[in-house]
Amino acid sequence: MDECAVESIDLTKKFGEFTAVDAISFKVRKGEIFGMLGPNGSGKSTTIRMLCGLMDATSGSAMVAGVDVAKCTDYVKAHIGYMSQKFSLYMDLTTEENLRFYAGVYSIPRVVRDVRIAEIIDMTGLHGFEKTLTKDMSTGYRQRLALGSAIIHEPEIIFLDEPTSGSDPLSRRRFWDLIYDVTSRGATVIVTTHYMDEAERCDSLILMSGGKIIANGTPTQLKREKIKGTILSIDTNRPTESLEVVSALPGVKDVALYGRSIHVLTTEPDQLTRSAEKALAEKGMSIQKIAPVQPTLEDVFVTLIGGQEYRRGPIE
């Protein structure tokens, strides 16, 4: 039982008639990186806000750091770190001033404070930026500083709500190194994302859509268990039109565009390969490549949520 850092039991949030989070239940083990994946409006942020005590749940309950959030909100707040989706540092304060501010807000004693600030600057790699105003730093640096501010009080559990949105791949990689660093020190991290590569890095995942959990497990489990069939990857000279052609073929369970490739889910790969080649040739499109590929989390996502909703979503 005490292996559990967070437990959500039928957690529900309604805004008027609209149900943002619909009775979701899950457990997060201590020390793991727990990912929440889903398109915008799937209820990830609302769930995190309820877990952090920023919002009251309409019904259901949540245990965080061993206590009931609704009953011991102040205790929970002192034992968690939270990095919000909206960029939330003080732009007109320097790195050091921001850290010092949060140290004060979390009542860190002065003797400990300076050591801790030095440690955070070390972890986040912000040496030389101590006296730089936050507004003069790049997005990637700001995001690391925001995480640094959120963990200044060495919280047991850290909630990160789309922490890397808008930053470049290299910055995202550095940010994830920081997440690994934090978990290696024993903290639990709960992170929402809609980047598939980030989802792959999580120890376990829940997939959310329309306020519900539609799948959960480790990335490997999800890929193995949720994909029933084979993924065919088709490269053609006119991907968008080819997609239309392929989706009309018999034996196609799902189809989606992946950059310039078309991914098709099917249970009869050989038969479909032949029919696709034929159909595309009839329409005058040339096939560059057609071959089965290993399913990715994105395939799982598409299969579970459905191509239509997936294409509308913000997933890159």
Binding site: D56, I80, Y82, S88, Y90, D92, F101, G104, P109
Partner: protein, 379 residues
């Protein structure tokens, strides 16, 4: 050994750094008070002198000329022109070239010499009540003086001189002997400036944190609403004190306004007053959707009562009854009396408790409201 500082200190310190780095706020805190002081100190003078006057003298006797001399010689009136008919008086008043018309009918002098009562007519332009009020009292004073002279002269010789003037009325204006309006306005400005800057400064602060998203991590932290509000109030109180010092210095050194009371008493009273206006600002901020609407609302709420209903410009005693009742809940009303009294009379709590007590009660109410108005919740 090393107890952590209160959380509100972190807020306090952060607010001061932010104000220091924000040129707009800095200008609001430093230049606005000085600007207002200069504008009001030079621009607004409530001293009413040199009121233009039109005169129709149909008597043209030594007595009538003496009366005219006492009007013009008083310094309160200047001669616009002599009219040649009653219609001429109307024209001058209608056009506003003259504010007061004096009509001396024929036989004025003759009646006076015969010790009969005699009449003159004075018309006053009432379109500007302040000038009209002043004119009425000046006219009364001059005529009273004039008639007592006549009486005295006519009695001369019959009654010993020692008994001639049984009442020797000598009026003396206390506290502001020169009746300089700047002496009255500068202390009033201390109150007005303090109210406006403090409410304007605080009004944006909560709304800004919401808008920029910096409120969210604070809500997720263990900081209490009261600690957040106290930290902010503390910072803006300090800034407001800088404003008081500035206004005091400019007022006493530049405008030579006398300061007869105790500075520490003024500081105590100002702190109590600030609780209400900063509280009001925070209250507005906590309830406003955006920075802009918060600032606008604060401006409207402080400008109108601060300038119009506090007695700073219009005396409360001349307001209609319902408005007078309304002024009782305006903290500036009390603080204005307190500041003016400290400046000009040099009195302390012994004389000012009737203002200090309601002001304190209002301060606590507004302060309490502001702390309670902020809910540490999202959405």
């Amino acid at each position: 050994m090393s107890r952590p500082r209160p959380r509100s200190y972190a807020i306090f310190r952060k607010e001061l750094i932010q104000v220091r780095r924000d040129p707009r706020t800095l200008a609001l805190t430093l230049f606005m008070p000085v600007m207002m002081l200069l504008l009001y100190g030079y621009g607004v003078s409530t001293d009413i002198r040199d009121i233009p006057m039109v005169i129709l003298d149909q008597d043209n006797s030594p007595q009538s000329r003496e009366l005219i001399r006492s009007f013009i010689g008083s310094g309160f009136f200047v001669l616009d022109r002599f009219a040649d008919s009653p219609k001429g008086i109307d024209t001058e008043l209608d056009t506003g070239r003259a504010r007061v018309g004096l009509f001396i009918p024929p036989r004025f002098g003759r009646y006076l010499s015969a010790a009969r009562s005699s009449e003159i007519y004075v018309g006053i332009d009432g379109s500007e009540p302040n000038t009209a009020n002043a004119s009425i009292s000046y006219v009364n004073a001059i005529i009273t003086g004039f008639s007592s002279n006549i009486v005295a002269r006519s009695l001369q010789g019959r009654i010993p001189l020692a008994q001639l003037q049984p009442l020797d009325v000598q009026s003396r204006v206390w506290y502001n002997p020169d009746l300089k309006s700047v002496n009255f306005i500068v202390p009033g400005l201390v109150a007005t400036i303090l109210m406006m800057t403090s409410a304007l400064l605080t009004s944006a602060t909560i709304a800004r944190e919401r808008e920029l998203g910096t409120m969210e991590p604070l809500i997720a932290s263990p900081i209490k609403s009261s600690e957040l509000m106290l930290g902010k109030l503390g910072a803006y109180t300090l800034i407001s004190f800088a404003d008081i010092a500035l206004v005091l210095l400019v007022g006493t050194l530049w405008f030579k306004v006398p300061f007869r009371g105790s500075v520490s008493f003024l500081v105590v009273m100002a702190t109590i007053f600030l609780m209400s206006s900063l509280g009001l600002g925070l209250f507005i901020s906590a309830r406003s959707a955006s920075q802009q609407s918060a600032t606008l609302l604060a401006f409207l709420i402080t400008m109108i009562p601060g300038l119009l209903l506090s007695g700073f410009i219009f005396p409360i005693s001349s307001m209609p009854r319902p408005i007078q009742l309304l002024t009782f809940v305006i903290p500036a009303r009390y603080f204005l009396v307190i500041v003016r009294s400290i400046f000009l009379k040099g009195v302390g709590l012994a004389a000012l408790w009737p203002q200090a007590i309601p002001m304190t009660i209002l301060g606590l109410i507004f302060f309490g409201l502001s702390i309670r108005s902020f809910k540490k919740q999202m959405g």
